[in-house]
């Protein structure tokens, strides 16, 4: 260990800028550090794809819930306690043997926070955002997901208003699984539509 081991690692420019802004806001009494900690904690503990996975597992096991999910996605998802910013208008789209759904935000990074948490880096990359529109089948193949030519690909462009959640097809061999175990087989990528289960 070196003599200056107590010095923190050098910050990236954006980290330094954020830290500087935060300290000024705290100093001026605009921000409360406890509030920041609570928000960060919320994002770390309460938001993430495990919420969306519970929605999917319930839809697979409860036909009445699945129906509610399609008639009013926002309300049906809120039944499980998942609601809030970036999830005010939730649309659930269903994969079937003839239809595969893919979600993108061509403009920036619109994403359903209450069900999936924060978007992965690639979701925000210009290459993903443009190619999802221009050549989705080829893009998916390159991401390891081959969609047969006779399956229609439906691309959904998220916006400031509407956010999407893909309901993947229930995998074979899961008939005997209870709902909580089913949630464990649902991946984040399958709910964005870049993966099939």
């Amino acid at each position: 260990m070196t003599a200056d081991h107590h010095h923190p690692a050098e910050l990236a420019p954006i980290e330094a800028r954020v830290a500087a802004i935060e300290s000024v806001l705290v100093e001026k009494g605009v921000l409360d550090t406890h509030a920041i900690d609570a928000i960060v904690q919320h994002f770390e503990d309460n938001l993430g794809p495990m919420n969306g996975a519970k929605v999917v597992a319930k839809a697979w096991t409860d036909p009445a819930y699945k129906e509610r999910l399609f008639s009013d996605g926002t309300a049906a998802i809120a039944e499980l306690g998942f609601e809030g910013p970036q999830g005010e208008l939730m649309i659930v789209v269903e994969n079937t043997p003839t239809v595969h759904n893919l979600v993108v935000c061509t403009l920036c990074s619109c994403y359903p926070w209450p069900t999936l948490g924060l978007p992965p880096k690639w979701y925000k990359a210009p290459a993903y955002r443009s190619r999802a529109v221009r050549e989705p089948r080829k893009l998916l193949a390159e991401m390891g997901t081959d969609i047969p030519a006779d399956v229609e690909i439906r691309v959904w462009d998220s916006s400031a208003e509407a956010r999407y959640l893909v309901l993947p097809m229930r995998p074979d061999g899961t008939d005997d699984m209870p709902e909580d175990q089913l949630a464990g087989v649902v991946t984040r990528d399958s709910m964005i539509g870049v993966q099939r289960l």
Binding site: L89, I91, V133, R134, E135, P136, R137, A149, D150, V151, E152, I153, R154, V155, W156, D157, S159, A160, E161, A162
Partner: protein, 58 residues
């Protein structure tokens, strides 16, 4: 097409014009409609569009 109710029109709100509601639709385009011969079969795209962006096809 899907109708999502009225929402604040972003182009006005973003320029400080306040809250002006406009009907919002999700409109489907096929890949061929968007890209012509360079497009592909079996691929469609759904885009959210405010009513004031839309033209009467007549």
């Amino acid at each position: 097409m899907r109708f999502d109710g009225a929402h604040d029109f972003d182009d006005i709100a973003a320029h400080g014009g306040g809250s002006v509601a406009d009907p919002l639709y999700s409109v489907r385009f096929t890949s061929r409609e968007r890209w012509g011969e360079a497009g592909a079969d079996g691929e469609v795209m759904h885009v959210d569009l405010f009513e004031r962006y839309l033209e009467d096809p007549q």
